[in-house]
């Protein structure tokens, strides 16, 4: 277990290192770095000074080491617009995105797995087919338009829920959270539903496929023959065997929600990282773009790492068998 942990950790660090080189090359090679890192309104003297400070007159490998050193100290340049460190700014917005993504994922899991079970066990009935139809609709609905519809019905027409912002927050571990207050929940529920729809459709599909496949297995037939109650067969025997694909997809989808929620965040003016990214694109705030990309990569690597660890806990075959097969 420990060797497995160390090997995966090594791979994660290597991947992060490789992407830092890629992002460095992309940003520093495509445009003039001075243009990227220095405020366009700076005077010539300021630009010359900053060029020297940033070491832009040195060879490329030395520049990369400098970039790495600055990144290690948590500085990726000042945002042009907000005049604060880009990385700090994104980290400050991160809790809003994390709570939104987690709420949406939990909604998708808690509704999707039971519906997927029903669709899998009763795949030939009207109910099973309706659930699958709902799942295809969930894939097809454009998220931003669902957001608009929800705003129209629940905010503009019924005045039940607020349409924008995060609402009242409360502090926990030095971070402000909306999900700790009732007003926060009123604000988070519409964006969370919007964000969860496509994921819900995916979880339903995945669960249904897994259940249908597992139901044909010998161990299920044997459990039936033993006279075990259906609830135990489904809840324990089938559940255990569909957990691995669900966890894999769930991990990847959580990472995608954390870094890809910008459209829903924009519709609901939810002050998360994605909204910050969209706003920054409007004013060409490139340091924020760089910082966002690095955070995206780090998020994916960390979540992949956690999923790999979970695998080996759930399924001993993986940690004994070594690498995954294609």
């Amino acid at each position: 277990m420990f060797a497995f942990f160390v090997r995966r950790l090594g791979q994660a660090i290597l991947a992060l290192f490789c992407t830092s080189i890629l992002i460095f090359l992309a940003v520093y090679a495509i445009g003039d770095p001075a243009e990227v890192l220095i405020d366009p309104q700076a005077t010539d003297a300021q630009v010359a000074h900053l060029r020297a400070v940033l070491g832009l007159d040195r060879p490329l490998w030395q520049q990369y080491l400098l970039f790495l050193e600055r990144a290690m100290h948590g500085s990726l340049g000042l945002s042009y617009f907000y005049k604060v460190d880009a990385l700090d700014l994104i980290l400050q917005r991160m809790p809003a995105t994390i709570e939104l993504a987690l709420t949406a994922s939990l909604l998708a899991l808690l509704i999707g797995i039971p519906l997927g079970f029903i669709a899998g066990v009763r795949h030939d009935t009207m109910l099973g087919r309706s659930i699958m139809g709902f799942s295809i609709a969930g894939f097809s609905l454009p998220a931003f338009w669902v957001g608009l519809c929800l705003i129209k019905f629940f905010a503009a027409d019924l005045h039940w829920l607020p349409s924008i912002g995060r609402g009242e927050t409360r502090e926990l571990f030095g971070i402000q959270w909306s999900i700790l207050t009732l007003d926060g929940w009123a604000h988070i529920i519409l964006p969370a539903i919007t964000l969860s729809l496509a994921k819900l459709a995916l979880i339903i599909r995945l669960t249904r496929a897994g259940v249908r496949e597992a139901m044909l297995m010998d161990y299920i037939k044997f459990a039936r023959a033993k006279g075990l109650p259906p609830r135990r067969i489904l809840g324990v025997y089938v559940m255990k065997n569909i957990l691995i694909p669900i966890i894999t997809v769930f991990g990847l989808e959580l990472a995608r929600l954390l870094t890809g929620a910008m459209i829903v965040e924009s519709v609901f003016a939810w002050p998360g990282m994605g909204k910050l990214l969209i706003d920054s694109m409007g004013v060409l705030d490139r340091p924020i773009l760089v910082a966002f990309l690095l955070i995206t990569v780090a998020t994916f690597i960390i979540i992949n790492f956690i999923v790999d660890m979970l695998y080996s806990v759930i399924d001993p075959r993986i940690r004994l068998g070594g690498g995954r097969n294609d």
């Binding site: 139809g133 295809i136 097809s140 454009p142 338009w145 608009l148 519809c149 990847l252 890809g260 773009l289």
Partner: protein, 303 residues
């Protein structure tokens, strides 16, 4: 090539096509979806002839008719605005028809280019194997795991807006799916006897790949291109909604919805609701077709 047996080959092709068609139309839902898609496609193709007005010709629109509710009558002609008008007095039916035209064009074109690029890379990768194959598949894995909206946004942020760059961005987020699918089916074809036979005839490698292996990868490719088309249309609409997609001169459905967003809180729901509904019906129809095709071509479900 040979004249000895020309007849059986085309007949066999036809029967295979017929079998697929028959299986497809066994599902009523899929049949409806295909009909709906064809109607939308025709409406988009003939939009300039069937729409009540040209919404982008200033001579045809009447600013006095701005923000009229669905079913209102035009003030200076005998036209009825069945879905209302927007803030500039444009008929929503016409705007939607023109919008579908642009959304479909961008979606179809980008998926098609992505298919060509991805399929070529996947085929070559499966044939070469080794380092190139490993490298390409690692890139595909990374590309697929990243959120497509993020990749497209970053691309547009780096290279600027425009129709050409939007299409490149859409190709960029789609090609990996084609590469992965084609590589997988080409790998399973590679070891079959007909490929060996072609290789024994000392045919050039490119001919073996494109003339013999490629036609056998077409079925999964058809499924992926259908799914990707719906993804591309949705993604383009999302980007245009954010103001980062198509320019204002090419108003796709996403831009229409975005224009209506401002009027939503005033109760003028029709400016953004109906274009969104059109987008939903279009994407849903394509997804239903894709779903049916996937079931037909799925070897696990075949008897």
């Amino acid at each position: 090539m040979t004249d000895s047996c020309p007849a059986p080959a085309p007949r066999q092709e036809e029967s295979r096509f017929r079998r697929i068609a028959r299986e497809y139309f066994e599902s009523p839902l899929a049949t409806i979806a295909l009909v709906v898609f064809c109607i939308i496609l025709l409406a988009a193709l003939f939009a300039p002839w069937i729409s009540p007005q040209n919404p982008y010709d200033p001579l045809e629109i009447n600013f006095m008719d701005a923000r009229l509710a669905p079913g209102s009558h035009a003030s200076e002609s005998d036209m009825t605005y069945w879905l209302g008008t927007d803030a500039q007095g444009r008929d929503m039916v016409s705007s939607i028809l023109y919008g579908i035209r642009i959304s479909l064009a961008v979606g179809v074109l980008s998926s098609f280019i992505a298919m060509l690029v991805g399929a070529a890379l996947g085929l070559v990768s499966s044939y070469l194997g080794g380092f190139f194959d490993a490298l390409l598949m690692r890139i595909v894995e990374i590309q697929i795991s990243l959120p497509s909206a993020l990749v497209a946004l970053v691309f547009i942020a780096l290279f600027g807006r425009g129709v050409d760059r939007l299409i490149i961005a859409l190709v960029l987020v789609q090609w990996a799916y084609f590469a992965r699918t084609v590589r997988a089916s080409a790998l399973s074809e590679r070891n079959k006897e007909y490929v060996e036979a072609a290789a024994c005839l000392a045919m050039p490698t490119w001919r073996v790949i494109f003339q013999y292996i490629f036609p056998n990868c077409l079925a999964p490719l058809l499924v992926i291109v259908t799914i990707q088309m719906s993804h591309a249309i949705t993604l383009e609409a999302s980007l245009s909604f954010l103001g980062l997609g198509l320019p204002v001169t090419e108003p796709s459905l996403g831009l229409l919805i975005s224009n209506g967003f401002r009027h939503l809180m005033n109760g003028r729901y029709w400016i953004s609701m109906y274009p969104g509904l059109a987008l939903f019906v279009l994407v849903m129809a394509i997804n239903l077709v894709a779903d049916r095709l996937r079931d037909i071509f799925n070897p696990r479900l075949q008897r």
